[in-house]
Symmetry: C2
Subunit: 204 residues, 2 copies
């Protein structure tokens, strides 16, 4: 049930944030409603007031996780419409992995790995998160076409899909190797592919 | 302990295969030694004869999983030294996802997501699996340079790293969307980047 008051909204958000923290520590399958309640100082009946069951709560965690990942890039997304902004976005993604010691991988992909084959509703929520991510990249590339930085015939939908894949795979390999340079190499591949669509003026 | 007799080796392999099956069903954290024993018709003391603890058994599962993923591509790897072979390898990867309904993702990445932040020994095993995968791609690209299909100055180590990232990210996005075309787009990005290094004769 979605809350109708500010106080209800804050309660619900506190439960979701606590659930996200427990999931991060124990894994989605290992997280228990009792632990979530203890961390959120919420009773089981309060949790059941807002969520049908554990799956419903995990779906809210998936939504909150997608929102957080995308919100964290909001300023960078706004500048994706230029080559400089595109490079800056990749630099920021690599810097974040440097800060994190390349641990943890992508939070959306993590939940997908834990829950994607077990709960189709949650898979769909996570897939929508990836779709929104890809849309931001595609919008940026389309703005580069409109601004004359990329050639008009560039397939920006495909380039965006391919770029998000490079990013996701780069995060997997960075996590495996504890090496942010694995993400750097992957994103440099994406940048090189996009660069091959730059107009002659821009690449000169 | 590694077995010294054929019979011991088969016992150990049966336990590892059973553990892999239980992990696939219940997740690595949810898998219990009792369940593994029941499936392998092995007693707890037999399991402990070959493995120090659950972590040790999971490490063997990680090794077996990496071996299986790479063995499955052995014939394709052998033909990676030509453009035709490279395209055929990507086609086979996409076909496999079509067969699987784009479910499950990469088995190595799955284990990484479940165990990579919990067990550093296992992370290292999985990372080595990715390294071997990348080496096969790099060897193929180096053969394409030697055969005159790629320009001599091509950075095959970087292209291989970037290609494996495209593949891994494409598998994440295919799994999220239940759509093998997400992998196709990602691998087409990798192929386009490699194609930009083809010699003039080959691209003509």
């Amino acid at each position: 049930m979605l809350p109708t008051t500010d106080r209800g909204r804050l309660s619900r958000e506190r439960i979701v944030a606590s659930a996200a923290a427990v999931v991060a520590e124990k894994g989605a399958l290992g997280a228990s409603l009792d632990e979530v309640g203890a961390r959120a100082t919420a009773s089981r009946s309060q949790i059941y007031h807002y969520f049908d069951d554990k799956s419903d709560l995990l779906r809210a965690v998936a939504e909150a996780t997608s929102d957080a990942v995308l919100d964290g890039q909001r300023v960078l997304f706004a500048e994706l419409g230029t080559w400089v902004g595109l490079v800056r976005w990749t630099d920021a993604l690599v810097s974040l992995q440097v800060e994190r010691g390349a641990a943890g991988g992508c939070p959306i992909a993590n939940l997908l790995g834990q829950l994607g084959e077990r709960d189709d509703d949650i898979r769909v929520v996570l897939s929508a998160g990836f779709d929104r991510w890809e849309d931001h990249i595609r919008d940026g590339l389309a703005a580069m076409v409109a601004g004359g930085e990329l050639r008009p015939e560039s397939d920006v939908a495909w380039l965006a899909a391919s770029t998000l894949a490079s990013l996701q795979g780069g995060l997997v390999l960075s996590q495996a190797r504890r090496d942010p340079q694995a993400l750097r190499r992957a994103l440099d591949g994406a940048l090189a592919l996009i660069a091959s669509h730059r107009t002659a003026v821009e690449t000169a």
